[in-house]
């Protein structure tokens, strides 16, 4: 959805007289700084000009067809405005036109791409934005609901609901709220259902490596949830939604604002009875849960130069499920599983603007993520197992931005990350420190060209340092087309679990060790007599390395006609040293001992196309498609025979398809709003065939190992009354598609919702 991008505000100040045959004028910003390269068009006439380096422009009166004309004044990054001009009067004067910088409240301004507020049209890397309007019209509650409907994003379920971006597993996408990372991953997946999208302003999605700005984890991309910040003196809202599986979502928000002090509170309660896709299993596919999210965002302008801001978020959730274990005598015993988890994030910051061109931000992020899981025998209540996991994360950071002139802008930043863990799986209570430094420079010689380069250094207390460069560029040869190209490096430091895990599954009986704990772990298991065979000798193990990638993105936006936007992007990611688990020893109980290894190489490449069409003001449609080719390098030492039948060795290298990747995926959306207050939308998501079971154990997808693809359709109808009350009813997955391998697809979900704004 790319509607008319610019709203307008304008000041016309009359100054002194000028030439009689021309209309002269100057374009400046609010502070009077002249604006070069501003586009001035006479409405209804094929007559345009561009302002010079002093912001001045000149239009010959002889070419004007009418007495009263309208000038359309536009510049990227500023609000466009129309200026009514009486030609007779104007020739005696010089016009001074002040443009107002495009405000952050516009959905077209993004921060994730460059760490500065920029118009989405102005950045050289592929960014897409999901607006609050689209979120609420789609009836989405959690971040996973929103992302599942975006082009090139695939929901995958592994210890939580994660997102696959450009063919990368969920581990490789950084999830942020207001620019700060969300912590707490299980088996690499950050469960997106932890994040409520109520009271969210927009969700920014950057694809391609962004480690040059954001550091580790931003290998496939970055998803940044920008929370709402009202500026009204007082505003409040209440939303209630109830649906299938006893799913209840209650949300309240209040904001109270003065000229200098903003306060935004929100509280969300979300619960569900869960559901089961496999009736034979005693465990529910998605357990019963109840969670709460509290958010508070405040900002205080002390004076023109100094502003304080703070964001606080707290989330907690209780999940209940059943499972069973088989005892030695062969009888099964029921277990009750209770899982509690909570996360907290507080980010106070100070913004200092000593003078116009310089801006300094100092922030501190403090965060924790805790889980407490308990298995008790059903009947007796006796405890079978309990595990506690606590993660702490602290990040002080300083960022300075300096605008040299209209053409050059730089940022420089530095900070530390302190991380610590407490869990029985990590008996040593490990912690490590990251020191980082980043810089970025943008050069904008004209409004149709920009070049941005960035570099980040991350020094780890445990590992060799990472240097992540990135360069991006955009070029707009004509008003209707813009090209984008970027190249950069991404990395993902080994996670805690990959280093320090010390875990034996009580139910299944397998063990997993991190690369730092595996030597001791194997030794201990050996002494306890649990090892039947060592598969890989300890002395052959190499120290684990950070996973890294090089990527290229190239694309363009085309507006063949005013109502149509076609967006195209080609991507290629070359990834090396991916970390995977593999068995290192076999246990006497038939299970294995696993540890982490750097898997040689993977590449993902593909193309993404998105077409948006504004049929009418109130009818918008879009189609998205992604072609994906994700392959891993398979090197096989083969023992074969020569012509005489004698044994010879040969090395075969091939790139083979990866599991759980669909070559084709796409979506279709249609949104309609009637002026009576009725709204309707239909959204379809298609997933092409994907490899699931490695039925021959060769490690890659063979042609007979594909599961069929599927399509899901969501519908929603809404009715708005006096701009205050909105009723919504809908059905997600209306064709009731279920697949026990897709645990997030629960079958058809009916819901009804009422939202009230005060």
């Amino acid at each position: 959805m790319y509607p008319q991008f610019f709203f307008s505000v304008l000041f016309v100040l009359i100054t002194f007289q000028a030439n009689a045959q021309f209309i002269d004028g100057t374009v400046a910003d609010q502070d009077g700084t002249p604006l070069e390269n501003t586009h001035i068009q006479v409405k209804g006439q094929d007559l345009t000009t561009v302002s010079d380096s002093e912001g001045k422009f000149r239009l010959p009166i002889s070419k004007l067809e009418k007495q009263n004309v309208v000038l359309i004044v536009s510049r990227i990054g500023y609000n466009t405005k129309s200026v009514d001009v009486d030609v007779e009067k104007a020739q005696d004067q010089s016009l001074t036109i002040a443009l107002v910088k495009a405000v952050y409240e516009s959905e077209n301004i993004v921060v994730t791409a460059t760490r500065t507020r920029r118009d989405i049209e102005e950045v050289g890397i592929p960014v897409s934005v999901v607006s609050d309007e689209e979120i609420s019209r789609s009836g989405s509650m959690r971040l996973s609901d929103v992302l599942s409907e975006q082009t090139g994003m695939q929901i995958v379920n592994d210890h939580g609901t994660g997102i696959q971006v450009q063919g990368f597993d969920p581990d490789y996408t950084r999830i942020m709220i207001d620019g700060n990372p969300v912590i707490g991953r299980t088996a690499g997946t950050l469960d997106l259902s932890r994040i409520s999208v109520r009271n969210v302003k927009q969700i920014e999605i950057v694809k391609g490596p962004s480690s040059a700005l954001w550091g580790s984890d931003a290998l496939a991309g970055v998803i940044n949830v920008i929370t709402q910040q009202s500026n009204d003196p007082f505003a409040a809202g209440l939303t209630t939604r109830y649906g299938t599986n006893s799913t209840l979502d209650l949300n309240g928000n209040v904001s109270y604002n003065t000229d200098s002090w903003n306060n935004n509170f929100s509280l969300n309660r979300n619960s569900s009875g869960g559901y089961s896709l496999n009736p034979e299993s005693v465990s529910q596919t998605v357990p019963e849960y109840e969670n709460y999210t509290f958010r508070y965002r405040t900002s205080l302008d002390l004076n023109d130069q100094l502003a304080l801001e703070a964001n606080v978020r707290y989330f907690n959730e209780m999940q209940q499920n059943q499972s069973s274990i088989t005892e030695e005598n062969g009888s099964a015993r029921r277990l009750n599983s209770d899982q509690f988890r909570e996360d907290f994030m507080a980010t106070p910051s100070i913004s200092y603007t000593p003078f116009d061109r310089l801006n300094i931000d100092l922030s501190w992020m403090s965060s924790f993520y805790k889980t407490d899981s308990e298995l008790t025998f059903a009947g007796t209540g006796e405890r079978y197992e309990q595990s506690v996991f606590n993660q702490y994360y602290n990040k002080p950071e300083l960022q300075a931005g300096y605008r040299w002139d209209n053409k050059h802008h730089s940022i420089l930043g530095a900070g530390f990350i302190f991380e610590e863990l407490e869990a029985e799986r990590y008996p040593s209570q490990p912690g490590f420190t990251t020191t980082f430094l980043f810089t970025q420079h943008s050069w904008t010689p004209g409004s149709n060209f920009e070049l941005t380069g960035g570099l980040r250094f991350d020094g780890h207390s445990e590992y060799s340092s990472q240097i992540s460069p990135k360069i991006s560029s955009r070029y707009r040869p004509a008003e209707w087309i813009q090209f984008r190209a970027s190249a950069g490096r991404g990395f993902k430091a080994p996670e805690f679990r990959q280093l320090f895990l010390d875990f034996t599954n009580a139910t299944a009986g397998y063990s997993v060790y991190g690369s730092s704990t595996v030597v001791e772990g194997i030794q201990r298991q050996k002494e306890e007599g649990n090892i039947s065979q060592i598969l890989i000798p300890i002395e052959d193990l190499e120290e684990i390395k950070a996973e890294s990638s090089w990527a290229v993105n190239f694309g363009f936006d085309v507006d063949p006609v005013e109502q149509v936007r076609v967006r195209f992007n080609l991507f290629h990611n070359d990834v090396s040293d991916l970390i995977e688990t593999a068995p290192i020893a076999q246990k006497t109980n038939g299970q294995s001992v696993y540890t982490y290894f750097n898997l040689d190489e993977v590449y993902t490449q593909g193309a993404e196309v998105e077409l948006r069409y504004q049929f009418r003001d109130n009818l918008t449609g879009s189609i998205g498609y992604q072609l994906l080719d994700a392959r891993q390098r398979i090197e096989r030492e083969r023992t074969v025979q020569d012509d005489q039948g004698e044994v010879v060795q040969r090395t075969d290298v091939s790139y083979e398809p990866m599991f759980n990747r669909s070559r084709h995926s796409g979506n279709v959306k249609l949104f309609y709003d009637h002026k009576s207050g009725w709204g309707f939308n239909i959204r379809g998501t298609l997933r092409g065939q994907y490899g699931l079971y490695d039925s021959n154990g060769n490690g890659f997808v063979d042609s007979n190992e594909y599961e069929p693809g599927y399509t899901t359709w969501d519908l929603a109808v809404s009715r708005e009354i006096v701009n205050k009350i909105t009723f919504q009813a809908g059905a997600d997955n209306i064709l009731d598609y279920t697949d026990s391998n897709q645990s997030s697809l629960s079958g058809r979900l009916w819901y009804g919702q009422v939202a009230v704004d005060f």
Partner: protein, 213 residues
């Protein structure tokens, strides 16, 4: 139990080509030996021995060999869990050995003359462990915790008497040779029992001949 072994295919190939070449190449009066390859498929050979007891099998006779004959050269190959032993070295009194080829069963037409390993205390001729010998272990990928024979991997062996060559391909480690691409197999609760071997083999019944097709 004999009904567990089905002789699905038993054929004798008389190598006409050899005969023809033997006749035309009549530099000596000695008659060339005739190739006689026996191909069999064995289904659900139980190798569940919980206390490490092996299931012994003779490729030459196509029969299971009684446990009491484990110290003889009656048997050629023995199974316990995922471990396969050959009658030689530390495993038995015979002269048997084996090697692994990454060649499809049907394409192994000739046994190599050398390169056979015998079982030792340090390593077995067909090593155990996922990816090392005849199988991969899927671990936590799908289907989880499964032992799946490596595609196109063929064991070539010498029988216990050291006189015959044979090739052997493990087809399944699960009872009933189930389809491993189903939800039923992926689910540990519904997966058939493991340690039941289904395999195909071809043995050259004529001493010293390397032909296996």
């Amino acid at each position: 139990m004999f009904n567990k072994y089905q002789t699905s295919l038993s054929l004798i190939i008389v190598s006409l080509a050899l005969l023809v070449s033997a006749c035309s190449d009549s530099t000596s009066g000695v008659e060339e030996p005739i190739s006689e390859v026996e191909v069999q498929k064995v289904e659900d050979l139980e190798a569940t021995g919980e206390n490490g007891e092996y299931t012994f099998f003779s490729l030459r006779s196509g029969q299971e060999v009684a446990h009491g004959d484990s110290a003889t050269t009656e048997w050629d190959v023995a199974f316990n869990g995922t471990t396969i032993r050959f009658n030689g070295g530390v495993s038995g009194p015979g002269d048997g050995g084996a090697l692994l080829l990454d060649v499809p069963f049907d394409e192994v037409s000739t046994a190599p003359t050398e390169g056979y390993y015998t079982d030792t205390d340090d390593s077995l001729a067909v090593p155990t462990g996922g990816g090392n010998g005849w199988y991969t272990y899927t671990g936590r990928s799908n289907p989880p915790h499964a032992v799946l024979p490596i595609e196109d991997r063929t064991i070539v062996l010498e029988t216990a008497d050291g006189e015959h060559y044979a090739k052997l391909k493990i087809i399944s480690y699960y009872k009933g040779n189930p389809d491993t691409s189903t939800d039923e197999f992926a689910n540990l609760e519904t997966r058939p029992d493991s340690k039941y071997y289904t395999f195909r083999y071809a043995v050259q019944m004529t001493e010293g001949l390397r032909e296996l097709n």
